[in-house]
Structure formats: structure tokens, C-alpha cells
């Protein structure tokens, strides 16, 4: 029923001597999808991307492109193009010649080359810059040339290796929107690598969160944000408060957890289907799901603590509350509400049962 995936990685492993860079990764990326691989440095996301491109040969496993096994094909034989992290624009060629490079490699007729390059320049909003050399362009312009150079070849899949990393914040935000727009217009599958989780959440149809060579979770941004499948994903995406505790009882649709600070809180049973009373758990709640006040209010879970800090951030503010066992909790509140709290004041932090996340001692649900 679903169309066959554009790119498939089947049990792909990459070893460098003793070290394992990528541990048996399985991925299916759908046609026309904006798919991101997200993770900290060294998690294997760039290595995986380069295996799709053909610059790295997998130690074992297969890579399929639209069903065809391209695992052993060199990069020049794959209908895949890459936007490099440092753009890799040819410094000795003009913008037009850079963009035309792939077409010329494929011996496309010069008239067609000219028209396609012109079209690419227009689409990438590089009008008038065709004769310039890369070093005469701004960072944002260079980025667009790199993109145009790849897209003009109409590849089956476009690979992007942290393409916005070198740009200033404002330009980066703007380019993020541009990339999203271009991808939707052109309809090509994008495989995007980044360590910036906000970027991945904003741009992607689906995200694969990677850690130490393995994929922790694959899913749509909302799903990863609201229902992280491991403590690593929970902590890596957005801000997260974590507290340690032990399961008191698990009955019906609830789990009762006794926190190390002494309080008892409750969470949905679906959070920990396989754990029992006596197991150690980590409880997690997002800062924006917490409320602060002088009395408990009518939310199920409460914690007492002292205000230990305040950070003004414009849109929202972060209030820091330290609870009795020493853990510092972050709470997002609006500006006016935050100003009324004084340092050292005793407060009650409360949140709803449905917003409670639980993970076992191994970081998994």
C-alpha cells in the first residue's frame, strides 16, 4: 500500500579497525520525504550519510536506492548528490561553471546545460552572480550555489551534511525555511544530517535520532518530542527535567512512583508496561508542562522546592527550583508570572499525570 522506499539501509555496519562507527543501522526513507539524521558529534550520522553517497564503503549490509543495490557503486555512478558541510565549491570556477559541473560530467548538450543552469540560478535567487567566483560571495550565497549545483542534476535523493552550520543565526533561520520550501517544490527526497535538534524538528517529516552508532528512535517530530522512546532521546530533544525514583505499585491504568526526594507521583501505566514494583525508574517532565505556585492546585503530581534561579529569555522565562534532594528543576513560565517569585521562596511545582514520562534503569521504557 505504501510506495516502496526511496532509500533503504539494511543492517549496515561500518567498522574502522577495532572501533565501530555505525552499528547495524536499518532505515527506510520514503520518496519525497524530508528525512533527518540527528545526534551528537560522533554518533555516526555523517558516516551513514557518506555511505549513502558512496564515499564510505559499508563493512557489511546493503544500501538500496529505489530497490537497486548500490552498495558497491562508486559515488560517480550513483544518482545521488550531496551538499557538503563546507560547500566544497570549486574555487577556480565561476558560479555558473560550478553549477554546470555535474551536467558537463554527464555530457549533457551545451544548450541544455545553459538553460538548466540559468533556471537553477533563478530558482536559487542567485541572479546576476553567475560570473562571480565563490570567494566573492557571502556565506548564504555560497550555500545556495552548493544547493543549486546539486539540484540541477535532478538527483533521486539529495544528501545534506550539516549545510547550515557555518551560517549566522538569522541567515540560518532564513535558509531553513528556504530549504523546506525548495524541498516541497522540487519533491526530491532530502536526507539531512544535523546536530541541531531545533533545526531537525522544524524541517523534517521524520527524524532518526542516533547515538553512538545506533538509531535510538525514528519518527515524526511531534512523536519524538512528546513520546521519546528512550531517556537519551528525551534528554537530547528539547529541555527535559529528570528525577530518580522507585516504583511503588503498578495497577490498572496508573503507576505510582516514589521519588528519591520523598514525594509520591503518578504516571500512566502505558509508560512502563514491563516494569514492576521495586524497579528503579527515571521520571521525566518537560519544563513547559510544569506549573509553579504557592499551593498545589488541582494537578495530580506535586513537588516542593525553593526558587534558586531565574533566566529571562524574552518569550518564555525559565524558573529554577531546587527540590529537597538537590535536583534542580527547570520550569517555563510567562514573563509576568515569573517576576513575582523571589529567590529562596518556597514553592510547589505541579504537573499533570498525562505529561509524565517514565524510563527504566536502562534508559528504555
Amino acid at each position: 500500500m505504501a510506495p516502496s522506499p526511496d532509500v533503504e539501509l539494511i543492517s549496515v555496519v561500518k567498522r574502522y579497525g577495532e572501533a565501530i562507527a555505525v552499528r547495524s543501522v536499518d532505515l527506510a526513507i520514503n520518496a519525497g520525504e524530508f528525512f533527518s539524521m540527528l545526534g551528537p558529534s560522533g554518533c555516526g550520522k555523517t558516516t551513514t550519510l557518506r555511505m549513502i553517497a558512496g564515499f564510505v564503503t559499508p563493512s557489511s549490509g546493503k544500501i538500496l536506492l529505489k530497490g537497486a543495490d548500490i552498495s558497491r557503486h562508486p559515488p560517480e555512478k550513483r544518482p545521488v548528490n550531496m551538499v557538503f558541510q563546507n560547500y566544497a565549491l570549486f574555487p577556480h570556477m565561476t558560479v555558473s561553471d560550478n553549477i554546470a559541473f555535474g551536467l558537463r560530467s554527464m555530457r549533457v548538450s551545451s544548450s541544455e546545460v545553459r538553460s538548466r543552469v540559468e533556471e537553477a540560478i533563478r530558482t536559487a535567487k542567485l541572479d546576476g552572480l553567475g560570473r562571480r567566483r565563490p570567494h566573492e560571495l557571502s556565506g548564504g550565497q555560497q550555500q545556495r550555489v552548493a544547493l543549486a549545483r546539486a539540484l540541477v542534476n535532478r538527483p533521486a535523493v539529495l544528501l545534506l551534511d550539516e549545510p547550515l552550520g557555518a551560517l549566522d543565526l538569522r541567515i540560518r533561520r532564513h535558509m531553513q525555511l528556504e530549504l523546506k520550501r525548495i524541498q516541497r517544490e522540487v519533491g526530491i527526497t532530502f536526507v539531512y544530517v544535523t546536530h541541531d535538534q531545533e533545526e531537525a524538528l522544524a524541517l523534517s517529516d521524520r527524524i532518526a535520532v542516533m547515538n553512538a552508532g545506533s538509531i535510538e528512535q525514528v519518527g515524526a517530530p511531534e512523536e519524538i518530542y512528546l513520546r521519546p522512546s528512550s531517556i537519551f532521546v528525551a534528554r537530547f530533544i528539547g529541555e527535559m527535567n529528570t528525577l530518580e525514583g522507585t516504583i511503588l505499585s503498578a495497577t490498572g491504568d496508573r503507576v505510582f512512583v516514589r521519588l528519591n526526594s520523598g514525594e509520591t507521583v503518578t504516571a500512566p501505566r502505558s509508560q512502563l508496561p514491563r516494569r514492576n514494583a521495586g524497579d528503579m525508574v527515571t521520571l521525566a517532565v518537560r519544563p513547559e508542562h510544569l506549573s509553579v505556585g504557592t499551593d498545589p492546585g488541582n494537578l495530580e503530581n506535586h513537588l516542593r522546592g525553593k526558587v534558586s534561579g531565574r533566566a529571562f529569555q524574552g518569550v518564555a522565562n525559565t524558573l529554577l527550583v531546587t527540590e529537597p534532594s538537590g535536583v534542580e528543576i527547570q520550569i517555563h513560565i510567562s514573563g509576568s508570572a515569573g517576576a513575582s517569585f523571589r529567590m529562596g521562596e518556597q514553592v510547589v511545582v505541579s504537573w499533570s499525570k498525562s505529561h509524565t514520562l517514565l524510563f527504566g534503569a536502562d534508559g528504555m521504557p
Partner: protein, 269 residues
């Protein structure tokens, strides 16, 4: 005067003295090339340009200029091709025994010329090969190739590897990558290496002395004249060679500086 200023002053004085020391012989030569006396001695007589005109009439000297250009040119050409290919192999192909090859490449620059010259002479005599300009060219090929290999090797080392990856990503095959991307970007290094190799060969005396036949190169003529009859014509020749080298160096550096700006990978915003 502060500590810092004293040291700055001292260094400046030292630097000036060093430069004078380096340039003194050159200045002397040029000076005496205009001296109206067949002796290179003080005090100086009048000003004349007759040595320059005499120079151009001297068949032996002019012949040696052509010979030097020929020998330098051919050995540099051979060295440039062999050296660039070798540098490419060292930088891009992986194989065992690279250290040994590296030593083989650098040895001709460390071994004294007399050893290179004498050993070649032994071979030529043993094989009854007649000595001529060709044998001199053969003698020059070794160290010129070494030199070009080293310089081009440095150029390749500085080349951003992602550029060649990008070329492959854009469907260029290995030869395409080399001719469309690598070679244009290392061209300044190749040219610099070639120019340098040429100047080394142009000026080389020992190997030429040991392996030449009847045809002479410039250093041979100069040394010959020095033993038997100094003439200010040599000064004139030297001055002209200096002017030519100077010009060549100016041209080479402006070319290199301009191309050099292109070699830097795309700067971040």
C-alpha cells in the same frame, strides 16, 4: 629606551647588515660590469657599456646561454611530468613502503652533487656513452624530479579533499576529477616547482662539469674563464642573468599570488 625598543633596533640593524652581506657580491658585479677597465679592481676607471656589446659578440658565451636554456628546459620538462605524477601517486594512492619511496625521492636533494655527478660519470664511462649535453640532462633529471615532487606534494597536501569528493559526487570519473579539479588547483604549485627546478638546473656546475662533452653551459664557461682570464664580460653576463631572474621571479610571484587566492576553500560567512 625600553627593552622592547632596544631589541627591535638591534634586530633591524642586524637584518640590514645581513641583507647588505647577501647583496654585496651582486652589487659589486653590476658595478664592475660598467667599469672601463679589463681588471676587476679598485679604484674604478670610467663608465662604459662595451662589455655588454662584447658579450653579445662572444660566440662561446652566447652558445653557452642556449645550452643552459636547453639543458634546463628539457630536464625541467621531464621533471615536471614525472614529479607531478609521483606526487599524485604519493598523496592519493595507498600502498606499503611509502616511507622507502619518500626516502628515495628526497635523497637526490641530500646527496652531494659530486656523488651524483661522479656516479653517473662512472656509468657513462663503463657503458662507453659519449658525454654531451644529453648526459648532462640525464644528470639533472634526478634532483629536478625530486624537487618538483616535493613542491607539488605540498600543494596536494593543502588541497581540500572535499573538492575532489564533490567532483566525484557530480559524476566525474577519476581522470575527470584530476584534469578538471585537481590539476587546475595545484597548477601554481606545479609552476613554482618547475620554475625552481629550472633555476637549480640552470645554475648547476658540478654535475655539468663532470658529465658534459664539448658543449658548455654558462657555469662551465664562467668557471673556465675564472681560471684563465677574468673579463668584465662575465660581470655583464651576470648582471643580465640577475635582471632576467629578477623579472622571472616577479612574474612568477604575481601569478602565484593571484592564483593563490583561489586555492583557499570557500570561507564561512
Amino acid at each position: 629606551m625600553s627593552n622592547r625598543r632596544i631589541s627591535r633596533l638591534a634586530l633591524t640593524v642586524l637584518a640590514v647588515c645581513a641583507m647588505i652581506f647577501i647583496y654585496m657580491p651582486i652589487a659589486m658585479l653590476v658595478l664592475f660590469s660598467f667599469n672601463d677597465s679589463p681588471f676587476v679592481a679598485f679604484p674604478m676607471s670610467g663608465f662604459t657599456t662595451r662589455w655588454y656589446t662584447d658579450l653579445f659578440a662572444d660566440r662561446r658565451i652566447i652558445g653557452s646561454v642556449w645550452n643552459s636554456l636547453f639543458v634546463g628546459g628539457v630536464s625541467t620538462a621531464i621533471a615536471t611530468v614525472a614529479g607531478t605524477c609521483a606526487a599524485f601517486a604519493m598523496a592519493r594512492v595507498s600502498f606499503r613502503g611509502k616511507t622507502l619511496v619518500r626516502i628515495i625521492i628526497i635523497l637526490p636533494l641530500m646527496i652531494p652533487s659530486i656523488m651524483l655527478g661522479l656516479s653517473l660519470l662512472s656509468v657513462f664511462v663503463q657503458l662507453h656513452i659519449h658525454r654531451s649535453l644529453v648526459t648532462v640532462i640525464l644528470g639533472y633529471c634526478t634532483f629536478t624530479t625530486s624537487f618538483v615532487t616535493l613542491v607539488v606534494g605540498a600543494s596536494l597536501h593543502n588541497l581540500d579533499p572535499s573538492l575532489e569528493e564533490a567532483a566525484r559526487d557530480l559524476y566525474a570519473r577519476p581522470t575527470g576529477v584530476f584534469f578538471r579539479v585537481t590539476l587546475p588547483l595545484i597548477a601554481p604549485g606545479v609552476i613554482a616547482g618547475a620554475l625552481f627546478a629550472f633555476t637549480l638546473a640552470f645554475d648547476e656546475y658540478v654535475i655539468a662539469f663532470l658529465n658534459s662533452g664539448t658543449q658548455e653551459t654558462i657555469p662551465l664557461v664562467i668557471m673556465g674563464m675564472m681560471k684563465y682570464g677574468l673579463s668584465p664580460k662575465i660581470n655583464a653576463l651576470a648582471a643580465l642573468i640577475y635582471a632576467a631572474s629578477f623579472l622571472l621571479a616577479v612574474v612568477a610571484s604575481t601569478v602565484l599570488l593571484r592564483r593563490g587566492r583561489l586555492r583557499r576553500p570557500a570561507p564561512a560567512a
